[in-house]
């Protein structure tokens, strides 16, 4: 898939980077190296979880997203706000202030992603009741988790919930609605307001769909800054919100799992916990659980690095907003689409990111070479060489990523 190649989830502000190796040591997929004192990302390995952005003590890592001005490329602009956006505002009386604010910023229409989320909950219930999927079923709404499974837990692919993410469903319905209104297709621009770089990547690459469903992905943080002054000016907001608590809950961990309607569920958040749970699923020790929701960020999407508010605060605010919403406001029957509408259009495809296939002997020879080299090293994973572990250093040499005569700085002292 060529559209993956040019997409970079995080960028480096080289001047700010001190080469402190914090991000390199904590990257869950060992996708970072420090070369000549500066961090660099191996994009083929990056799953967009945002950990490095979160952890960098010098704010040198910047998550990628589209500048707000991209909306001006289209005549008819539709905003798709993620439910976590509502958790960013202090003393928000009514979410319609946010939605009205978006319209004043230039959007012609708003379509809450929470509406898509509700439909996804209903579709999940249908799927869990009728189709045979391997238990435990693993959620796929967090693109960082989905990509992690494809990269490191391929044998769990059969457990994945093969349904579109809420934003995909919202994007499809919003665009179709505008077309029905008679707006020329080429004039319609659909923009997601995202909590994280993982969603930016997944939407731009069109993971799980035949072609990308949105025309741009904006950051909650940037939109928030523009919204605040605009919202202050609103006297009477338009009644624009059309979602329920079911959709709102998706902003935080366990919201999706509760919506799946199975009492035997598990919800884990934070990339390290996600990895622990994936290992347990692999071991077969969670076979008595029906549904597993996994979010790369602590607390779920309110913890995404493109938010402005602390995730726990945002979560508390969302809880406070619940009483203002109906339980659910979007049902499958109302929308009237066939069930296929909610399914993946194609298998997620990260092929331009994957390594060429080697035969077993080749794999073994490499393993042997890596192990032989590894056994000569201190195995202290100190990181001085610029690789996150002694093993990663060996892999880089054997895979020709760094010169064969690269030195372990501990041994060389």
């Amino acid at each position: 898939m060529d559209r993956l190649k040019s997409l970079h989830t995080v960028m480096l502000n080289s001047e700010r980077c001190k080469g402190c190796v914090t991000c390199m040591k904590r990257c869950p997929t060992q996708a970072i190296r420090v070369r000549n004192g500066k961090a660099s990302v191996i994009y083929d390995k990056c799953i967009g979880c945002g950990e490095c952005v979160r952890l960098c003590p010098h704010q040198a890592k910047i998550a990628s997203y589209d500048k707000f001005e991209v909306i001006n490329d289209f005549k008819y602009k539709i905003a798709l706000p993620a439910p976590s956006l509502y958790g960013q505002f202090n003393n928000l009386k009514d979410v319609n202030y946010v939605l009205t604010g978006l319209k004043r910023l230039g959007f012609d229409e708003v379509f809450e992603v929470g509406r898509g989320a509700e439909l996804c909950s209903h579709a999940t219930q249908v799927l869990l009741n009728k189709e045979v999927i391997k238990k435990p079923v693993i959620s796929t709404a967090c693109p960082a988790v989905l990509e992690l499974v494809y990269a490191k837990y391929k044998n769990l692919k059969d457990n994945l919930l093969k349904l579109l993410a809420p934003v995909d469903v919202a994007a499809k319905l919003a665009r179709e609605g505008a077309i029905e209104k008679g707006i020329p297709e080429e004039d319609i621009g659909v923009f997601f307001i995202s909590p994280c770089p993982a969603k930016v990547f997944a939407l731009k690459a069109g993971i799980g769909v035949k072609k990308p469903l949105v025309d741009g992905v904006l950051a909650i943080s940037e939109v928030y800054m523009k919204l605040l002054p605009e919202m202050k000016k609103i006297e009477e907001p338009e009644k624009l919100s059309k979602m329920g608590v079911l959709g709102l809950n998706w902003a935080a961990s366990s919201g999706e799992a509760i919506g799946a309607g199975r009492p035997k569920y598990l919800a884990a958040d934070g990339i390290e916990n996600v990895i622990d749970i994936l290992n347990s699923i692999e071991d077969g020790s969670l076979s008595d659980v029906d549904f597993i929701e996994l979010n790369a960020c602590i607390s779920g999407c309110v913890g995404g690095v493109l938010n402005v508010e602390n995730p726990f605060v945002a979560r508390a605010r969302l809880r406070g907003l619940r009483s203002k919403f109906p339980q659910t406001a979007n049902t499958l029957t109302d929308v009237g689409k066939s069930f296929d509408y909610y399914k993946w259009e194609e298998e997620p495809d990260y092929t331009s990111k994957s390594k060429p296939v080697e035969d077993r002997q080749q794999v073994f020879n490499k393993m042997l070479e890596i192990q032989n080299l590894y056994s000569t090293l201190p195995q202290s994973d100190c990181g001085l060489c610029g690789a996150p572990s002694c093993r990663a250093f060996c892999e880089d040499i054997v895979n020709g990523k760094i010169p064969k005569d690269s030195k372990c700085l501990m041994l060389d002292r």
């Binding site: 391929k154 692999e282 077993r360 794999v363 073994f364 393993m367």
Partner: protein
């Protein structure tokens, strides 16, 4: 034949950490890109053997050799040994004390499981000298 050799110590005093050698081997095999189903089989069989070393012997060593087509795990201890290997292999046979049973071990299923989850399971033992269990798993 060329092989990758790994060695791990199994601590004989610590029930709580029993299984750590297996966890390390599992992580290594996974990192090396070995088929997850094979990794799982190796881990299940090795775990039972490791637990046996902790509860029936005083710990020991785990030697792991990875070949292009198989993984050989040797669990070597210098514990009390097994008098009647055929009897020990029978499902349900156990000499575990009540204390050990309280911890959830002692169903007499360890050795039968090791046999089931490996392609070859060889138990060699001498009373008073120790036990060596060799587990061979073919790779797919």
């Amino acid at each position: 034949m060329e092989k990758i050799h790994l060695e791990f110590d199994v601590d004989g005093r610590n029930f709580v950490s029993a299984g750590t050698a297996t966890a390390k081997v599992k992580a290594c095999l996974k990192e090396m890109g070995i088929n997850p189903d094979d990794v799982k089989r190796v881990a299940i069989a090795m775990y039972e053997g490791e637990i046996n070393m902790v509860i029936h012997a005083n710990g020991g060593k785990a030697l792991v050799d990875i070949y292009v087509d198989k993984v050989v795990v040797k669990l070597i201890d210098t514990g009390k040994g097994i008098a009647d290997i055929n009897l020990a292999m029978k499902p349900g046979y156990s000499t575990a004390s009540d204390d050990i049973r309280q911890l959830g071990f002692g169903a007499g299923m360890g050795l039968p499981n090791m046999k089931k989850h490996s392609d070859e399971c060889i138990v060699e033992s001498e009373v008073g000298k120790g036990t060596t269990v060799t587990l061979i798993t073919n790779l797919h």
